[in-house]
Symmetry: C2
Subunit: 155 residues, 2 copies
DNA sequence: TCACTATTGTTATACTATAACATCAGGAAA
DNA sequence: TTTCCTGATGTTATAGTATAACAATAGTGA
């Protein structure tokens, strides 16, 4: 058991399912499930914490991979582009998606201390914004909700 | 008239009121309403567009001010800290607040083309997130909603 | 075998932000 | 009036984040 979004869960299963999802997604889409793609995703999945690109890079370096910035950004961008990770703008950091497969606008609770992030689907919670957008003839392509605060463990 | 948040408004009045608000705020709080504070705020108010710190810096430079990065960041941070501007994380940029005086969690409609930003108060629109937060015993200190898309003018 | 495409490797550089310390201006206290 | 204190600004250097551009490689199908 480990903490995800400030509550415990079966983390081993959680990681296995996520990796499995990425693998089948790659097969379906004709993309390669390469060592680096897998490894970067694993690193994000280790803890439910936001990791900076350069954190990833350090980990890759100690593991003997090539570790120039584009390596980290390429794989992180790959994961984000295909819905397996999100970027937390507020932290300039990345986190594994916990709602893989669900088309969703994410909402995050972000602990400013430990960078643990709980992801929820914002679904109708930003309905008001969508109303305002359509009133203004503004076409929303994606939206993000980021709430900063402190988690129970850090108080 | 000029565009604010994708609709027209009396921009001259809008700017005058905002500057006036900053001036009286400074008086009330015993802060100085200095040339640079005023000028940086004016630059943000010129158009309702997000400006990067280095955009501000370029403008200051052409106007003969000292233009090292800390100058821009100091005054932008001042405006943000006192509620007269917001940072748009998604763009690494800043925008004048259009709800001065109202304690609020802002929500933004951001045009990816022209960087025009419409600010609204998110008020109850992220209520669901607050519920989830209290369920998790997570204490939200501030929250931001950023929606990216394209504005009518850019389509 | 060849050619094509996706992926990875590498160098260099651009963009964003802050630490740290020096200087200056104005008001309060001696 | 001088001294001291505080808030604001000036300046240098550096840290942190991100991407452009191109080279090399590996696997695939023609």
């Amino acid at each position: 058991m480990a903490s995800s979004g400030f509550h415990t869960h079966d983390h081993v299963k959680c990681v296995a399912e996520a990796l499995g999802a990425l693998e089948s997604y790659c097969q379906t889409e004709g993309l390669k499930f390469t060592t680096l793609r897998r490894r970067v995703f694993e690193l994000l999945l280790e803890e439910h914490k936001a990791m900076g690109a350069y954190d990833i890079l350090d980990r890759l370096r100690t593991e003997g991979f090539s570790a120039q910035p584009p390596v980290a950004y390429r794989h992180l961008d790959f994961l984000v582009a295909h819905g397996f990770a999100h970027k937390i703008e507020r932290l300039n950091a990345f986190i594994a998606c916990t709602h893989i497969g669900a088309l969703h606008d994410p909402a995050f609770l972000i602990c400013r201390e430990c960078r643990t992030v709980s992801e929820t689907m914002s679904d109708s919670s930003i309905l008001a914004l969508h109303h305002r957008a359509s009133d203004a003839d503004f076409q929303i392509e994606e939206s993000v909700v980021e709430a900063i605060g402190t988690c129970p463990d850090c108080r």
